[in-house]
Amino acid sequence: MSKPTDLVQGTLDLLILKTISLEPKHGWAIAKRIQQVSREALQIQQGSLYPALHRLEQQGWIKAQWAETETGRQAKFYSLTRAGRNQLDEELASWNRLSKAINLVVREA
């Protein structure tokens, strides 16, 4: 199991922003979605997820809203703000640069 601390610094933010960029999701769904898409490689602990969500909200990149789930329960849904979308673009770009660079080094060396 991969712990979030194993993630490259700041990657959790990117994962969260990317995950909610299509549609608003609540915390549980965000964690599940990351787990699913990464084919269980990334397990996001609640202990990191929620503080990260609060931090992102504090920075004005995401906003939260209470809404009903498909099962008819109240949950807190997070969605991107305009600033958050810009931030996502920036982080994606820098992630691409970084991963490309790492790939280069890993393959060539």
């Binding site: 609540h26 915390g27 549980w28 602990q45 609640q46 202990g47 929620y50 503080p51 990260a52 609060h54 931090r55 909200e57 504090q58 920075q59 004005g60 329960r73 109240q74 949950a75 807190k76 600033a83």
Partner: protein
């Protein structure tokens, strides 16, 4: 926009804490339930699913804190919580809180009050435009020190040359100011009148708010002139009516009012009426004016001084007979105004800050005592995971709260205190009326509250937060924890308090002894039971002698016949002040007299009977009579100081004396009187020449009647007022007593002596409270041991001795340190001491004895309690 959103979020987290927490709980709850549902779907039983879910979530509380941390409000939140906690704590021990606040409020209040005076007098810029460019030009003798302030004055011909030859100044003016009879809107009274030269108002950059400046015609010599009135005078005498313009004011000659100056402008010394100086310029020797100028923006003080020195040297060569040895000093007005009081005020500020230090030490010992009592509380908090840093922060917050409450109460004390200071301060303290609490004073209070909270709070907090957990949590171990170190620390603080208090006490002792010496100076006259009536006769011709002299002659003869009046006279200047000085020569006048080489003399005009009324002894010869008038030979009476200086081995009676007064007529000396301390008891007598009021026109219309009575002199005032009114309705009068004038003379030493005494009293009380606190604490700590001693047969006396000895040992160390510091520190007072040396052994001994007695009393109470300890109870407590 984003900033605002962030701020709103943070404020929401801060102030709607409950709803935010509830939301967080709901969010986590949802998460857990989803987890449970998943676990169940994976085939676990309800119970197992729930357990597994909770296990993955971990510590909810810690988790919640983390989320809150992410919202970055914890530090504010902590502060608020600490403040609430501190408030609860203080409320829980109201005795301690009240005492600590009281001590610190006294310290902070006294400091703020003194600072409010320092702030106004020394720090606040003068309320003129570019006040730093206003300078005074004063005459000084390059040959030696001038004996009176009067000799700074300048003459109009000299000023005119300075004005025409210099280029350093934007505007230059001269003025002189005195209380004069003034008739405005039908009422005759004394008002301060200041004749000014043309550029006077430009020096200060003021213009009339109603009316217009003086015209060139009104400033011309020999013209009728015009008057300008102060805003206050306009309000009080004309009800602020703009139709005041063009009305005539008599001050003393009639002048049309040209304008009203803006509120707040009263220079010099609360002037009511400014008139254009249109009188004759007088001679180069007629130094009756003060000069003031505004420096050009591009010119420094040093450049101006250099230019003026050059001009003065030129004048010296051009007019050697009048200007030889004389030069000009250029001084910033501010320095000129506050030169005398700066040192006194800083010294007072120093003294009062010592009181604050003692108050801090005192509060620190109180907090140390409290720290011991709180060992367990702190230990419990530490055990629950509070870091030392966090506990320190909490304890310092408590000191901060204490200091701010004390600061607020201190401000109230300071407000009352500064009013008291203004009432007590000598009337010639510059800008006395402006003293009050302004934003600088508020900032000062805030600042010292902060600083003191650190001073008294940090050491106890360090001690309190350094807790050995296992020891502290053991039942009944409170007593031992931190005992030794803390006790030593308190001892050190108390010794410091005593030492500081001793320094203040020695200073106060020296000043008191000096003040007593001042009061005991033989003044050369008898001030008790003398009424002084100042009156000015506004005759139709201001310099016509007859009507004015007639008025006083009538008044004196009527006053002498009133029952209870022992003697009556009149003088230009009652003793205690000097109004006029000059130079004198004995014998026939040489062809080209060099007055600058002649000795100084105080000159004064008196009526017959004045010496008897004031109680100045006539040593030889005769007093003046009503026959000493203009058409009779000119006569004079001199004092013994003058005889000693110039006629030591001759008979002064019959000699001729010349004085630079209103005329250079030779006067025959007809009598010698005893010396009077003309400038107050502090300063030596100067040679003085008295002249009869029938032979001199100078100071014509204004004289001070002095009347010696058998009973209370004040009772006579109404009778005299009625007698004067019978003669004239427009003679303004002012009554005082000789004793009141003298009391003004020693106002400055009285002020500083009183303040030092108050500060020393505060210091000693605080230090003794410290001794008491430490001894009481020590007795509490040692009650087992003492109980054991008593149980083993120690006598009550020996227990008393044990504790008293400890208290006196502390006092002894403090006393020794304090006396040593006082020997060094009191040297600062040297210039303020009169006939007392800074290392006066009597004062030091008295301080030592006084402090010993007080310390004995302060340690006796705890010692008595110790000797009454019931050994059974004390030992059982263990």
């Amino acid at each position: 926009m984003r900033l605002w959103k962030k701020l709103r979020l943070r404020l929401r987290t801060l102030f709607r804490r409950n709803s935010v927490d509830r939301e967080l709980d709901a969010e986590l709850q949802f998460h857990i339930e989803e987890q449970i549902a998943e676990n169940r779907a994976a085939g676990l039983s309800n119970e197992e699913a729930r357990y597994a879910a909770l296990r993955t979530v971990g510590g909810i509380t810690q988790f919640r804190e983390e989320c809150r941390d992410m919202r970055r409000v914890n530090y504010i939140d902590d502060l608020l919580r600490d403040l609430r906690y501190a408030g609860r704590n203080l409320r829980r021990s109201p005795g301690f809180a009240t005492l600590a606040v009281l001590i610190m409020a006294l310290g902070i209040g006294a400091n703020t009050a003194v600072f409010s005076v320092v702030n106004t007098v020394l720090l606040k810029p003068l309320s003129f435009r570019d006040p730093d460019r206003i300078v005074t030009l004063s005459d000084f003798l390059s040959t030696g020190q001038s004996p009176t302030a009067l000799s700074k004055q300048v003459s109009i011909p000299d000023f005119q040359d300075w004005h025409d030859q210099s280029s350093s100044f934007e505007a230059m003016a001269y003025y002189s100011s005195r209380e004069e009879a003034t008739i405005a809107n039908g009422a005759a009274e004394f008002a301060r009148r200041t004749p000014v030269s043309p550029e006077f108002f430009r020096v200060f950059g003021v213009e009339p708010i109603v009316g217009r400046p003086f015209t060139a015609e009104e400033m011309k010599r020999g013209s009728g002139g015009a008057a300008m009135i102060s805003y206050a005078f306009w309000q009080s005498h004309f009800g602020g009516d703009p139709r005041v313009l063009g009305q005539t004011i008599r001050a003393p000659g009639p002048r049309p009012i040209a304008g009203v100056l803006p509120p707040g402008f009263r220079f010099p010394s609360n002037t009511d009426v400014w008139v254009s100086a249109v009188g004759p310029p007088g001679s180069r020797g007629g130094q009756n004016w003060l000069a003031i100028s505004r420096l050009k923006a591009s010119v420094t003080l040093e450049q101006a001084q250099a230019e003026m020195s050059t001009i003065a040297r030129r004048l010296e060569q051009q007019y050697p007979e009048s200007n030889k040895g004389r030069s000009v000093a250029v001084t910033r007005m501010r320095d000129e105004m506050i030169g005398n009081v700066r040192f006194t005020l800083y010294l007072l500020l120093g003294a009062v800050s010592v009181v604050l230090l003692i108050a801090c030490a005192n509060t620190a010992t109180l907090l140390l005592g409290k720290a011991t009592a709180r060992t367990r509380e702190v230990a419990v908090r530490a055990a629950l995971g509070a870091s030392r840093h966090r506990i320190l922060k909490q304890l310092v917050t408590e000191s901060l709260l204490l200091a701010f409450i004390a600061g607020a109460s201190g401000l109230l004390l300071a407000y009352l205190g500064s009013k008291a200071l203004v009432a007590l301060a000598p009337a010639d303290l510059p800008r006395l009326a402006e003293i009050g609490v302004d934003r600088w004073v508020l900032a000062f209070t805030l600042g010292i509250s902060l600083i003191t909270s650190l001073l008294f709070g940090v050491v106890p907090a360090l001690y309190a937060s350094k807790v050995d957990l296992s020891d502290a949590l053991k039942q009944g171990a409170t007593r031992l924890v931190g005992g030794g170190g803390m006790m030593r620390m308190r001892g050190v603080l108390v010794v410091a308090e005593i030492a500081l208090a001793v320094v203040l006490l020695c200073s106060a002792g020296l000043l008191i002894k000096s003040f007593v010496a001042l009061q005991n100076v033989a003044l050369g006259f008898r001030p008790e039971n003398v009424l002084v009536m100042r009156a000015t006769v506004t005759a139709p011709h201001p310099f016509g002698l007859n009507p004015t002299r007639q008025f006083f002659k009538d008044m004196l003869s009527r006053a002498s016949s009133i029952p209870g009046v022992l003697a009556a006279g009149a003088t230009m200047t009652p003793p205690g002040n000097v109004d006029s000085t000059g130079a004198y020569m004995i014998g026939p006048l040489p062809a080209n007299p060099d007055w600058t080489r002649s000795p100084f003399v105080v000159t004064s005009i008196v009526a017959p009977g004045t010496f008897a009324a004031l109680g100045i002894p006539l040593k030889s010869g005769r007093d003046f009579t009503d026959n000493d008038v203009m058409d009779r030979p000119f006569v004079a009476i001199v004092n013994e100081a003058l005889v000693g200086k110039s006629m030591a081995n001759q008979d002064p009676i019959g000699q001729t004396i010349h004085c630079t007064f209103d005329s250079l007529n030779g006067m025959t000396i007809i009598g010698v009187v005893g010396d009077v301390h003309q400038r107050g008891p502090e300063r030596e007598s100067m040679p003085e020449c008295y002249m009869p009021y029938g032979q001199h026109a100078f100071n014509g219309p204004a004289l001070n009647m002095v009347v010696r009575t058998a009973g209370d002199p004040n009772a006579l005032a109404e009778t005299l007022r009625r007698l004067a009114r019978e003669r004239s309705s427009d003679v303004p009068m002012k009554f005082t007593t000789m004793e009141a004038i003298l009391s003004e003379n020693v106002a400055a030493p009285r002020f500083r002596t009183l303040l030092f005494t108050v500060f020393a009293g505060l210091a000693v009380s605080l230090a003794m409270a410290g001794v008491y606190g430490v001894m009481a604490y020590a007795v509490g700590q040692r009650s087992n041991e003492i109980g054991l001693r008593i149980a083993l047969g120690a006598r009550m006396g020996s227990v008393l001795r044990l504790i008293l000895g400890q208290g006196l040992a502390l006092t002894g160390v403090g006393l020794a340190l304090g006396l040593a510091a006082a020997v060094v520190g009191t040297r600062l007072l040297k210039s303020m001491l009169f006939r007392v040396q800074p290392n006066d052994p009597v004062v030091y001994l008295a301080v030592a004895i006084l402090l010993g007695i007080v310390a004995l009393v302060a340690s006796y109470l705890p010692a008595r309690r110790a000797s009454k300890i019931d050994p059974l109870t004390a030992i059982r407590q263990e």
